[in-house]
């Protein structure tokens, strides 16, 4: 046999990076997921503006909510696809049996999904500005903070539920059914925070919504980290 000499099993962080690099490489080779997400989310934003008609005030007032609804709907595609590549040829079994720490699988998937959603949000913001006639009032830094926290908040529980639903026959229905009720606090906080960034924050409320998003993230990243091994092993 060839002289394969495993040196030492890599730790949690290194395993996470190896798996995340693999996921990004697959994404880069196909680019199917990112393209689909961008077109789907842009179409959603466009449809909101058509559905509400020429009432520019209404569009301006609700722009933050529409942005996050578009990201949420697109996240279902993204999360489902991230596990489709793992169920094809039972690749997730191959990674589990390598063996890779199941917590590293969670971290790599959740961080990869968050990165993709953040990239999507960055593309959507200029579209939203152009379509709804809004402008960034409090500063780009505030908006970046909300986008980062919001993307992380959707991806952690989304990754757990995408793993649960990946082997179900009705996975395309199951994932949003499980995910949407759970992420309402995150959706509300992200939408309110974005609205304050776009319309000004005279009452200094932005910090509270960011705090709520941070708390949501701490809870669901912690829960996902602890529960994910049971999800994929049992």
């Amino acid at each position: 046999m060839s002289a394969v000499k495993p040196k030492r099993a890599p730790g949690l962080l290194k395993t996470t990076l190896v798996l995340m690099r693999k996921d990004l490489l697959i994404e880069w080779r196909t680019r199917a997921r990112l393209n689909a997400l961008i077109f789907f989310a842009m179409a959603t934003l466009l449809l909101f503006s058509f559905a509400l008609g020429p009432d520019t005030k209404l569009l301006e007032r609700n722009a933050g909510g529409y942005l996050w609804l578009a990201i949420l709907f697109a996240s279902v595609l993204s999360l489902g696809e991230s596990f489709r590549v793992e169920t094809e040829n039972a690749c997730l079994d191959g990674v589990r049996l390598a063996p890779a720490d199941a917590r590293a699988i969670f971290l790599s998937k959740a961080l990869g999904n968050a990165l993709l959603l953040l990239a999507l949000a960055v593309v959507l913001v200029p579209v939203m500005v152009a379509l709804y006639g809004v402008r960034i009032v409090t500063g780009v830094g505030d908006l970046a903070g909300i986008l980062v926290l919001g993307s992380l908040a959707l991806s952690a529980p989304g990754t757990v539920y995408a793993a649960i639903s990946s082997n179900a026959r009705a996975r395309d229905v199951l994932l949003p059914l499980l995910l949407f009720p759970l992420v309402i606090p995150a959706l509300l906080s992200a939408a309110k925070g974005t609205t304050l960034v776009l319309q000004g924050d005279p009452m200094q409320q932005l910090g509270s919504w960011q705090g709520l998003l941070l708390g949501f993230n701490l809870i669901y990243w912690g829960v996902g980290f602890l529960l994910f091994p049971r999800v994929i092993e049992d």
């Binding site: 046999m1 060839s2 099993a9 890599p10 693999k22 590549v85 690749c91 191959g94 049996l97 063996p99």
Partner: protein, 221 residues
């Protein structure tokens, strides 16, 4: 490679192992011991429980009842250690369709902490006759090429116990001959081999022990 089991530690011990899928028992109270240094031929009709048994030993599944010991370690409570020592060649290839042959092997090499994973991947691809397809995505591979790449993946682990589920399937005559060579080489290197196949003559020439399954139970062949 991990040290082979000592003379007294069996390579594989099944104690009253059962596995149920819904209402169907795939394995029923199976007890068997494979001594260290021996290789096992697993035979039986389709649906007899061969694949389920291999997946239990590989820790891809947990038993419904009973205990599986691999190289002296419990396959449930000491799962991570068992996984490090065992490699499974399965019906599913564990290959990422959108990665190249080399990238598939390098991902596994990095997860295992292999030194210079690219060099090792290239050497293994050469060994299984895929040197010319190193940079080709797996999506364009034939079934036989996928099997060869899956074998390279198994060799990357340098396992103490190799579980081979229908290893000759989808291979052409030259591939079957190569596979026999790989199995002989694994055994010569101290790896215990458990081989499930319908090609009984080939299996008997490679294995010293035989276990025949029928409806999830061990029966005389």
């Amino acid at each position: 490679m991990p040290p082979p089991p000592s003379g007294s530690t069996p390579a594989l011990a099944l104690h009253d192992v059962s596995k149920r899928y819904g209402r169907r028992w795939a394995l029923a109270r199976l007890t068997y011991t494979l001594p260290a240094g021996r290789s096992l031929l697993l035979t039986g009709h389709n649906g007899s429980g061969k694949t389920t048994l291999l997946r239990l030993v590989a820790t891809a599944l947990g038993p419904t009842a009973g205990r599986v010991e691999v190289l002296g370690r419990d396959a449930v409570t000491d799962r991570e250690a068992v996984r490090r020592d065992v490699a499974l060649l399965s019906h599913a290839s564990f290959l990422y369709e959108d990665l190249t042959a080399q990238q598939n092997l390098m991902v596994l090499g990095r997860l295992l902490g292999v030194d210079a994973p690219q060099d090792v991947a290239d050497a293994l691809l050469n060994k299984v006759g895929l040197t010319r397809r190193t940079d080709s995505p797996v999506r364009g591979f034939s079934a036989g090429m996928r099997k060869r790449l899956a074998i390279a993946r198994l060799l990357m682990k340098a396992p103490a116990l190799a579980l081979l589920d229908e290893p000759f399937g989808e291979l052409d005559p030259a591939g079957i001959q190569d596979m026999e060579g790989v199995i002989a080489e694994l055994k010569a290197g101290g790896t215990t081999v458990v081989l499930a196949t319908h090609l009984i003559e080939q299996g008997l020439s490679l294995c010293e022990e035989r276990l025949h399954l029928q409806d999830g139970r061990a029966v005389a062949a």
